[in-house]
Symmetry: C2
Subunit: 152 residues, 2 copies
């Protein structure tokens, strides 16, 4: 994990569809060398996936909500997690410090669907209460911050 690797990570976080040839030009190596480095970053768990980032409204997911979850005293945290995992609307799930054990980011098409989701969450065993905040707009999301040292 040297400076070139960090550089490759930054480049791919900016545009995951860059060709190996282009990456090679940017970092000053040959294409096979870059190919091998990126392969190691993938198999070493640094690069988890390559994803297209989509404007949610355009695919019918216009409602974004952030939901805090308080567990009840008998809750089995693993079971609660599994219950969340099978709900596809829950795009992100953080285990938090504080009264609320989880913070979920969910996306649905309509407020009615959000209502149904919240009902389902409140019904899942181990969940004592939920607190939902609605995002009126997403200013930006998952903006990658550069990590590579500036190339001198």
């Amino acid at each position: 994990m040297d400076a070139i690797d960090l550089n490759l990570v930054d480049l791919l976080r900016g545009n995951a569809r860059l060709s190996y040839a282009e990456l090679a030009r940017q970092v000053g190596l040959s294409a096979p060398a870059v190919h091998e480095r990126v392969g190691k970053l993938e198999s070493g768990g640094v690069i988890r996936a390559y994803r297209a980032e989509v404007e949610p409204e355009t695919i019918g997911l216009g409602v974004t909500a952030l939901i805090g979850i308080v567990e009840d005293s008998e809750a089995d945290t693993d079971d609660v997690l599994e219950a969340f995992r099978v709900m596809p609307e829950i795009e992100s799930c953080y285990f938090m410090a504080g009264v609320e054990s989880f913070l979920l980011k969910a996306r649905v098409g309509t407020i009615a669907e959000l209502e149904q989701l919240i009902v389902r969450l409140n019904r899942t065993p181990g969940v004592a209460s939920t607190r939902t905040g609605i995002a009126l707009s997403t200013k930006w999301e998952n903006r990658p911050q550069p990590v590579a040292p500036p190339t001198a």
Copy 2:
């Protein structure tokens, strides 16, 4: 934006580095047809970017925090937004309904850096108070939910 487009979007959300030839096979069109469709999805604002998803800890961003922001009564929301925008640690920014106008997701390397970020946030004009929650672990993040109708 028909079923094939939704299918392409799902495929690219799952793996942004799929070749056009492979996409073509999956949706049952020719490669040039897929090339044109994807190009229109990009220029039409449906596909915003292609990003490599990285394990944050491996690139020195081990601390994740979610920060609620309360604006003061004289705040200019646009100015506050711009102040947030130039802070690279703030990866996501939602404008929320409720007492807290914004919810930020920030990632930094250490708790000390988080402390500095919070101080900076509290000092920015228009910000009345902040409330920070620390994510002990990220169970998952930005999991794409399928949107295409199941191919019969």
